[in-house]
Symmetry: C2
Subunit: 284 residues, 2 copies
């Protein structure tokens, strides 16, 4: 059962919500009234059934902030018909957006893109990409240009030019070059593909499915999943810095061999675990 929660500032971006997500939510102490956006990769039960319970539990907690839910065609029918039969009212607005490939969301500080995945039903892979941030602030340069410390420094740091008497000081005068944001990829269920290599180019963290190991590559092809080695290859080719393997078949009581197979290709690979937390630092 899949679900990845990205907490970015005061916002939660939830990618998939398999059965049991609300329980993991409570155990992780994420909080039910946080600004939230949910992205569903595809309408298989292990990736989306948890949305129903999560919405109901948010409602029981008297949530008031709206929730936007993005996903493939049919998502709205699934949620709205369940709502009808389970007769659950909600204390907040739910907006369901059935997406097309490309730019799904363009916020002030980040974008979310979707690319069709190769699975047995219409599926998307997602990528969260932060926009560039202003460069490093150099106090020495500001002092040399006689900018008084305080609010003017802060303005420059946030990329706004300031006026001192008749002089104009521009951010470029006191800042280093713009710094790239972080990039996190989430594959959902899929075969590897050139499109996904492009989507996940230079990810800081790539969370990629590895349902099978080398021993069942035939099953991976037949069931439109990936092996851990294939995940490693795609991560390497895309230049992803870290690869997190997930969605292991229940047949593997021990996933170490799968991790080993991926590590033969990519040198920073870890297996996902329930309730695992990962910090994604800025790299410059």
């Amino acid at each position: 059962m899949s679900s990845v929660a990205i907490i970015r500032g005061d916002e939660l971006l939830l990618f998939d919500a398999g059965e049991g997500t609300q329980r993991a939510f409570l155990r992780a102490g994420i909080g039910l009234n946080r600004k939230t956006r949910i992205f569903i990769t595809h309408l298989h039960g292990d990736h989306c059934i948890g949305v129903l319970g999560l919405l109901q539990t948010m409602s029981l907690a008297s949530r008031d902030k709206p929730v936007d839910i993005y996903g493939p065609s049919g998502l709205s029918g699934f949620i709205r018909s369940s709502q009808k039969y389970l007769r659950f009212g909600l204390t907040f607005d739910v907006r369901i957006i059935e997406i097309r490939p490309g730019l799904v969301l363009n916020c002030k500080e980040y974008v979310v893109r979707a690319t069709p995945a190769r699975h047995s039903v219409p599926s998307f892979s997602y990528c969260l990409e932060e926009k560039e941030r202003p460069g490093v602030f150099y106090p020495a340069k500001a002092k040399k240009l006689r900018v008084p410390e305080g609010i003017l420094w802060s303005s420059l740091q946030h990329g706004h030019q300031v006026k001192i008497g008749r002089r104009i000081v521009r951010p470029v005068d006191v800042l280093g070059s713009p710094r790239r944001g972080r990039k996190i990829g989430i594959s959902g269920d899929t075969r590897p593909s050139a499109k996904l290599r492009a989507l996940f180019k230079a990810c800081d963290v790539l969370i990629f499915e590895s349902t099978y190991g080398d021993d069942h590559r035939d099953k991976a092809i037949e069931n439109l999943h990936s092996t851990s080695r294939e995940a490693g290859q795609l991560a390497k080719q895309a230049g992803a810095k870290q690869l997190v393997l997930t969605h292991f078949s229940a047949r593997y009581a021990d996933v170490k061999p799968l991790v080993k197979q991926a590590r033969e290709i990519h040198d920073d690979v870890i297996p996902a675990e329930d309730l695992m937390t990962l910090q994604v630092p800025y790299l410059d």
Copy 2:
């Protein structure tokens, strides 16, 4: 999230299937291809959402035995529409029976009855009641009547008369009086009521909801739930031998006070826990 699994011989009787049931199923090692009947008390998510994932996981395990699912009106719509949107095929037949109050199921060895519960949506409480079994077999009596040991003894034990030459020996000649079967009640979500007292009369085990304690009796009335004390009172009045409290509100980190309140009324009360197993012995 509610689910009670009764394993009786080779059969599984599942009462409710809240979110996460399939996971508990696997952890409990119940087995996905067992003869199974599912009874849903009402269509609130915490009592029925788990059906979807359970059916899909049974299918992934190539189940071939049919599953019968009993419950209130709307159950069929909920399952069939989810099946449509989640596009899940099944490797076995699912028969959905939207029930009326009364005798729901009449099998060779037991019956299941349903009575309307008092909750915010159409709801049932269920009772599983075994039919009488033949009385104790007395080998001494059989020997005295010169019944040869072996298959004829077995026939008599199972309640069939046997012929020895021209003589007929009847079960009543060698058996004690019929023994009562076991009786297990499951409340679902409900206020206490006279109807439920009647349904649960002389239960061996009564699994009754106790969402609240004395401190929130007003909420119990408002939200159509029961307090643990009310559960104790109903169990006592019904003559239920053991009371299992369940469905505690998440507000109670410690349910001991609720158990204590019920024990002030009924002397055999235990709180349900996830994955708890209970043996229900024959009492005579």
